[in-house]
């Protein structure tokens, strides 16, 4: 097989996901941070097949003109922009940033982040549930980044979240799925989509997460910081599809001892 044949674009073999009443063809959500250029980001969007791209809300520079801004670069890709509330440490801050993001007029969707600890970037789940309630009341479609705690996931669902986004491991760590059992508990406990958000480092991590039955994965650093981000974007697309297919196929049971695959009867010389 030539390299070109492998990279031929084609429709996903697995169905997409529906969040907040909108259906997306891809199960991969791409974060737009830490890319070396807007061009690399756009190529990764196209190669990964992502239909949702997250962005952050920050002050503009009033001293020198920013060149065009991120939105101009992403315009042609047709993705849905998903603003986040990264950097917020209280419900009030996060609600304020979410409102600013919505005023940009793109959508009601928000990736809700309320950080509770600087070193781990683990969420403050008490503030998170509070902010979710407020934003849902205001008509937002809320996608909270949360811990891998099944009770918190339930609380977020009760608060009206459109999805829950538990971490696989700390943001930007690339450690992969540290606690698969907890992610499975969450998958079984809530009816809303479960998106693994943060911690995926390479393709096999994405596949492991998808095999647990989660609906999708949000990733950023794994692609942006790869030596070849565009190639990794392609790998992630395939990994997510492979993991989803394997989940739907239903894996064989694990067993302790070997079991021959060739017949016992009729062996030569018996």
């Amino acid at each position: 097989m030539s390299g070109e044949a492998v990279t031929t674009e084609r429709a996903s073999e697995v169905g997409g996901m529906t969040i907040g009443g909108r259906t997306f063809g891809s199960r991969l959500i791409l974060g737009s941070g830490r890319f070396d250029s807007p061009d690399t980001l756009v190529r990764c969007v196209e190669t990964s097949g992502a239909e949702i791209v997250t962005v952050a809300v920050r002050r503009v520079s009033l001293d020198r003109a920013d060149e065009g801004g991120l939105l101009r670069h992403l315009e042609g890709t047709g993705v849905m922009i998903l603003p986040n509330t990264a950097g917020c440490y209280t419900a009030e801050q996060a609600v304020r940033v979410a409102r600013l993001a919505r005023a940009a007029g793109l959508s009601e969707f928000v990736k809700l982040e309320v950080i509770g600890d600087e070193r781990t970037l683990y969420p403050d789940v008490v503030e998170l549930v509070r902010a979710t309630r407020t934003l849902v009341d205001e008509g937002f479609v809320v996608l909270p980044y949360t811990s891998d705690d099944v009770v918190v996931a339930r609380r977020l669902e009760e608060a009206g979240a459109a999805a829950v986004m538990p971490l696989a491991s700390p943001i930007g760590s690339g450690l992969g799925v540290v606690d698969p059992l907890s992610l499975r508990f969450i998958r079984d406990a809530v009816a809303i989509p479960v998106i693994v958000d943060a911690g995926v480092g390479t393709a096999s991590d994405a596949t492991v997460a998808m095999e647990l039955g989660v609906d999708g994965i949000l990733m950023n650093t794994a692609i942006a910081m790869a030596e070849d981000p565009v190639k990794m974007a392609r790998a992630m697309r395939l990994a997510i599809e492979a993991g989803r297919l394997a989940f739907e196929a239903g894996r064989m049971p694990r067993r302790e001892w070997a079991r021959p695959t060739s017949p016992d009867e009729g062996r030569v010389g018996e």
């Binding site: 737009s32 952050a56 920050r58 002050r59 009033l62």
Partner: protein
């Protein structure tokens, strides 16, 4: 910069820093003077979001506190 030598200037605080602007300048004028595309920024004035449709009519006042934000790369 839109700083002028006449007495008719006012000071506002935008993104945490003081800016001296012509008295009577609109929010649209403030953004234009800084080469900012009004279609890609969101502005909060004294804690309240200003609808884009009002950028042209809203005259800034002494002591106004503005947050001018846009989208940047982020996960």
């Amino acid at each position: 910069m839109s700083r002028t030598r006449t007495a008719s200037t006012i000071d506002v605080v935008a993104n945490g820093e003081s800016h001296t602007i012509p008295d009577g300048q609109t929010l649209a004028g403030f953004l234009a003077a800084r080469d900012l595309d009004p279609d890609v920024v969101v502005v909060e004035r004294n804690g309240e979001i200003v609808p884009r449709s009002r950028f042209g009519e809203l005259r800034l006042e002494t002591g106004d506190r503005l947050e001018v934000v846009h989208f940047v790369g982020g996960g």
